[in-house]
């Protein structure tokens, strides 16, 4: 649980942020200079807001009215800074274990596990100065993970990392959140990462938080196009695994009025899953087509059509009580004679579906293509 309602001045920026989340991963999303780092610094206790409060789980970290202002070292926040801020005089290993020997936080996490996850095995005796950009970033992540935090703040932690490494780390963070119950405040410019990882999305724009809420809702909102990056818009679909097809490596997911086939190798029947379906990956057909490699085809009802200038149109369709967005050309809207209320066939390539898992007892989601 994260409950933030603060205002304050940072340089020329007038920050006024208000949002709440139920734990899990809360993503801060906004343009460069919108105040993301400033906001995280206030939550971490590095900048004192002028008013408001900050609560994590049941602990009040800051409350201007109540005169509460826990010092940084008492907040137990694992902070991955945007600039890694490694200790230049300490070896990688001493950096990683700093919270243990200097912060007296024994830490429940295993050093070896984190070292393996981040691929730091061969770097332990090195000094930060000799590390590459991505290596520094990984050490910074490891240092925060090992600090036994009750909240993890990660300020663009994967910016300099390659896809393979991201694909290792993201599920780990997911698991940390789900299994260990550590909430994460995640700053990222990558809507991919945000969509894949977060439960709650907070939009930050010029120091304000014009909107926040469950990530699915937020990604479906068209009024936030500019902030979230329109072409990355999509929908999150809730479903339940009904069957695992080991022969073809496919998993069947019941989403209510349809069953989707997705590539997956780690699901069990009965698992609750969330699927991210990007608007650009959804095609529509006026009549159910046959003989396509596209495996997912089901009927849906057009709820709205937003035609924009330019070549694109955004179609919102409902399947049962869930929503799916499609982006097609305006030309196709005309060709297929689409209108609100019409029933169309939604086509989604299996390979284009991202799977995310939620719920405490679930196994770790694996390295699926994003």
């Amino acid at each position: 649980m994260l409950d933030v309602d603060i205002s304050g001045q940072v340089g020329s920026l007038d920050l006024e942020a208000k949002f709440a989340s139920d734990g899990g991963v809360t993503s801060l999303f906004g343009q460069s200079g919108s105040g993301k780092t400033s906001l995280t610094n206030m939550i971490a206790g590095l900048i004192t807001p002028s008013s408001g409060h900050i609560r994590v789980n049941d602990t009040t970290l800051f409350d201007a009215a109540g005169g509460v202002n826990l010092p940084v070292q008492a907040r137990r926040i694992g902070h991955v800074f945007q600039d890694a801020r490694l200790f230049p005089h300490l070896s990688v290993k001493s950096n990683l274990t700093y919270a243990r020997w200097a912060g007296r936080r024994p830490g429940s996490r295993d050093l070896d596990e984190v070292v393996d996850l981040l691929g730091l095995g061969t770097l332990l005796d090195r000094k930060p100065e000799t590390l590459s950009g991505g290596e520094k970033q990984r050490v910074a992540i490891g240092r925060a993970l090992l600090s036994d935090p009750r909240l993890l703040i990660m300020d663009e932690p994967l910016a300099n990392l390659d896809q393979a490494r991201r694909n290792d780390i993201l599920p780990y963070l997911d698991r940390l959140c789900v299994e260990v119950g550590i909430p994460i405040l995640y700053v990222s410019h990558s809507i991919e990462e945000v969509a894949r990882l977060s439960n709650t999305l907070v939009i930050l724009s010029e120091g304000r938080t014009p909107a926040f809420g469950p990530v699915a809702d937020m990604l479906a909102r068209t009024d936030l196009g500019r902030a979230t990056g329109r072409h990355e818009a999509g929908a999150l679909i809730e479903g339940k695994v009904v069957q695992v097809d080991d022969v073809w490596g496919l998993t069947l997911v019941d989403i209510g009025d349809a069953v989707l086939q997705i590539p997956d190798m780690a699901a069990k029947p009965g698992d609750a899953v969330r699927l991210r379906i990007r608007a650009r990956d959804v095609s529509l057909a006026a009549i159910p087509p046959r003989g396509l490699s596209i495996r997912n085809a089901f009927d849906a009802k057009i709820k709205s059509i937003s035609e924009e200038t330019g070549p694109y149109a955004e179609i919102l369709c409902s399947v049962g009580d869930q929503l799916i967005r499609a982006r097609i050309t305006r030309a196709s809207v005309a060709d297929l004679d689409l209108f609100t209320g019409k029933t169309v066939t939604v086509l989604i390539k299996s390979v284009a579906i991202d799977r995310r898992q939620r719920g405490p007892a679930l196994p770790l989601s694996t390295d699926v293509p994003v």
Binding site: Q73, G78, L86, P88, H89, Y98, A99, A102, K136
Partner: protein
């Protein structure tokens, strides 16, 4: 030690230290080391306070620290004599309560050396503290380190080159201190006659020229040794600190 040809006799004599010289040398090292041992931690503390905090009296502390530099050493020595001398208020108190006496013994010489070298230590150390990125201390705190621990594990080690630099200036000054020492604790062989004072003594009569020259060489040699040691240490330190630039 090794067999020496008789023709080398004079040269050998020249390089063999006489008892009085040994005495002065050892005393100098003792005084300078003691001065450093006591003054350095105080200098580090003072430098840190001056570097990181604005408190009422900041300017006064800063000025007091520098005062021994601005006044002629004789004056500082005289002030020490009046304050810490056997009949001085502080001296009397320390003597009565703790049995510590600075009057005319080597601890007094160390006190004079410490006071005189204090400003030379504070300045470089303060600069080093100011050069340490305070964001690193923030990072340490965010990892649970309390203020003092963060200081000891991050800021202090990163300021070590400056502390070493200050220590060297201080040590060199302590070794060469003359004016305040001779004024405060006089020039007593074996007790307060350091190399610098012995050198002065030698220059007081024409026949002392050779002795003065020898003493100059000894002082220079010790200083060289200390400097070289410090350079080696500094280089290692810089290597360990990774240049301080993460």
């Amino acid at each position: 030690m090794w067999p020496i040809e008789t023709t080398d006799r004079a040269r050998v004599d020249f390089f063999d230290l006489q008892p009085a010289e040994w005495q002065a040398l050892l005393l100098t090292l003792r005084v300078a080391t003691a001065a450093l041992a006591v003054a350095l931690p105080l200098a580090v503390l003072t430098a840190y306070l001056l570097a990181r905090y604005r408190f009422p009296g900041h300017g006064i502390v800063n000025a007091l620290v520098h005062l021994p530099l601005v006044l002629p050493p004789v004056v500082t020595g005289y002030v020490l004599l009046l304050t810490f001398g056997r009949k001085g208020p502080v001296g009397e108190f320390l003597d009565n309560v703790f049995g510590i006496s600075f009057a005319f013994n080597w601890t007094g010489a160390a006190l004079a050396a410490g006071v005189m070298s204090f400003p030379l230590m504070v300045r470089p150390i303060r600069l080093s503290f100011e050069a340490v990125n305070p964001k690193l201390e923030e990072a340490a705190k965010s990892l649970g380190a309390h203020r003092l621990v963060a200081f000891l594990t991050v800021t202090l080690p990163l300021a070590l080159p400056g502390i070493l630099g200050g220590a060297i200036l201080g040590f060199a000054k302590a070794m060469g201190e003359f004016g305040a020492t001779i004024t405060f604790v006089s020039n007593i062989p074996g007790e307060t006659r350091t190399l610098a004072l012995a050198l002065y003594t030698a220059t007081q009569t024409p026949s002392g020229d050779l002795a003065a020259f020898r003493l100059t060489l000894i002082a220079a040699f010790v200083a060289f040794a200390a400097l070289i040691a410090s350079e080696v240490l500094a280089r290692r330190l810089r290597a360990r600190l990774g240049g301080g630039h993460a």
